[in-house]
Amino acid sequence: MIAAFRAEWVPLLRPRFLLGTLGAVVACALLGTVLTFFSVGHRDFDGDPVTAAALSRPDGLLQGVQAVSILLGVVALSVVAASLAGDHSHGTLRNQLVARPHRARLLAGKLLALAAFVVLIVAAATAVSVGLSFLLAPTRGVSTAAWSSGAGLVELGTGFVNLCLGSLGYAAIGALAAILLRGPAAAIAVALAYALPVEMLIARIYRPARSWLPVQLMQEIATGGAADPMPYADALLRGVVYAGVMVLLALMVFRRRDMTA
């Protein structure tokens, strides 16, 4: 598994892919942060007022990046789906399975590397958002004192972990789609179609479903349980179970299926 983990970093760290992915998440972070600070005095997407006082709280530092947590999730899903399904479509998985025939260990190593990569890109987005928040705060009358306090640092750490967990949940959906569909385009399209319009429509039509739909739960986790009355702990537990089941299903399919690509 360690060999598979190390080997997976070779394609992940190729400059074009790495810079492209980082560019995408940094752009998302910039967008979310700028829009959040420019929303002061207005209402957000859900109709709640955005105030300088709210942003001045210890958890205000991550409001910008949390606003685009769904986009970070989409990037995580796409990266994982493209990477795993790309191995199928390029035929490179054949070589890898001959080199490392223990399938469960191979996939586990790859998933671990991809999870670390997702954490890396979320960290990059968070760092950019935090830096920009400090720059924009004075222009919108937001105090940064609480951000640098002990409570602020705890909120920063907790918020970062939540963003990572939420993005990893999206990544699990991408992994399952990639293993089942075996083509990057199909895997990304189907996974995103499910994650965005399908679940959103269901959740809008039947609001209690938000407590059970996987992507809605990932969103709850990413934002620290701010968007829904459901307790964060419940969302976390259900989200982890969903992600675990998806990874387990992917492993089972990967182990048993004939490699005809």
Binding site: A7, V10, G91, R94, L97, T260
Partner: protein, 392 residues
């Protein structure tokens, strides 16, 4: 080198229409011994996709240290067989061993196997070197020591002559370079068994010669090489052992020379005067030889060019060539050309797999000339490039 099979080459000449295989008769009692002596050994290996059998009760036996060719038409089941040997797909029935380990446990033998199947497949965005680096890490080559790993990558790149372009992206490689990289990847683990699927695809003649030399060198060093190819001339030149399948079933396995020795030798004659063709055929027939006249090669009408002439083919060994020449001379028939011909692997392959109407029986049934003569197999004895015997 032992063939590892009790194949009677004569049995290779079976009727492909009935799908009866001339597979080697290996006694059950010797199976254990065969496994020890062979790099690849299967019994009843079968892969079904629904009702279709891609591989049908295949009994493979590839001797250790052999340079073995694996041939068959498109869709014969070669790649499916190779995938089963590499643990990529599960057999529907049967069993097998690779390097003495069961194919159901590929992690017990694949560290000693190098393979390239269905073409070279690498990450297009990575350089050749980085692609090999990834596979080397996966195989645990050099452990955590990057220098050892890089040295091995460098070695295999040098072996296939790809050192200068190793840092270019795979997507910029020509087909020949991709093939070389695929072979380099297969060589990475310094394998005991090398399985290559069409390794010379896309290579120029010089490249083919280099790969041929490389494979010979590897086999000479004790490595078992199992290579599937459509280039039968290549297989004939480099392989000492051959496995031929069609429709998922075994047609022949054993020494290439055994297969070719069992083929029907011919003496091909072209009389100076077209009118002598029938007389010559009669003379040869009186000698007890099976004779065919290809009158189709004569000019279709009087106004046509006279570049093509009737060909008389006698089914006889090379040793009779001088005798037949004397016989014709005594009868006042001057021969414009006389040459011996023994079918090469390509002709044998096409006849056995039924890909062309090279089967004499089938030709006789389907294509008799109006005068009752039987046209010889397509190309047989007509193309000097296919002639293995000397001309007199």
């Amino acid at each position: 080198m032992t063939s590892g099979s009790a194949t009677d080459p004569a049995h290779a000449n079976h009727d492909p229409a009935h799908g009866t295989a001339a597979s080697p008769t290996v006694m059950d009692g010797t199976a254990g011994l065969a496994r020890a002596d062979t790099a690849i050994w299967t019994r009843g290996l079968t892969k079904r996709y629904g009702a279709r059998r891609a591989v049908d009760h295949l009994d493979l036996q590839v001797p250790r240290g052999a340079l073995s060719g694996f041939v068959g038409p498109n869709g014969a089941g070669k790649s499916t067989t190779l995938r089963m040997l590499l643990g990529l797909i599960r057999p529907s029935a049967g069993h097998g061993h690779v390097l003495g380990e069961p194919i159901t446990e590929p992690d017990r033998y694949l560290h000693r196997v190098g393979a390239m199947i269905e073409g070279p497949t690498f990450h297009p965005g990575l350089s050749g070197r980085r692609n090999l680096d990834q596979l080397a890490i996966l195989r645990g080559i050099g452990g955590w020591q990057r220098a050892l790993r890089q040295r091995r990558v460098e070695e295999v790149l040098g072996q296939v002559g790809l050192g200068e372009r190793a840092d270019d992206r795979f997507s910029t490689y020509s087909l020949g370079m991709k093939q070389r990289l695929g072979i380099a990847a297969a060589l990475l683990p310094d394998p005991c068994l090398l399985i290559l699927d069409e390794p010379t695809n896309g290579l120029d003649p010089a490249g083919i010669r280099e790969i041929r030399a490389l494979l010979g060198q590897l086999a000479g060093g004790g490595m078992t090489v199992f290579v599937s190819s459509h280039l039968l001339t290549e297989v004939e030149q480099i392989c000492d052992h051959l496995v031929m399948i069609n429709g998922g079933r075994m047609l022949f396995q054993g020494h290439v020379t055994d297969l070719l020795a069992a083929e029907d030798p011919r003496i091909v004659m072209i009389p100076e005067h077209d009118a002598d063709a029938r007389r010559l055929a009669g003379l040869l027939g009186d000698e007890g030889l099976r004779v065919e006249i290809d009158l189709r090669n004569g000019p279709p009408d009087a106004s046509a060019t006279r570049g093509r002439r009737p060909v008389v083919t006698a089914h006889a060994p090379e040793g009779l060539a001088a005798h037949l020449n004397r016989l014709a001379m005594r009868a006042g028939i001057t021969l414009r050309s006389l040459r011996t011909h023994r079918p090469n692997l390509e002709e044998t392959f096409l006849r056995v797999t039924g890909e062309i109407d090279g089967d004499l029986v089938r030709t006789a049934q389907a294509g008799q000339e109006p005068d009752g003569s039987v046209p010889p197999p397509v190309g047989a004895g007509l193309d000097p490039a296919h002639s293995r015997g000397g001309a007199t």
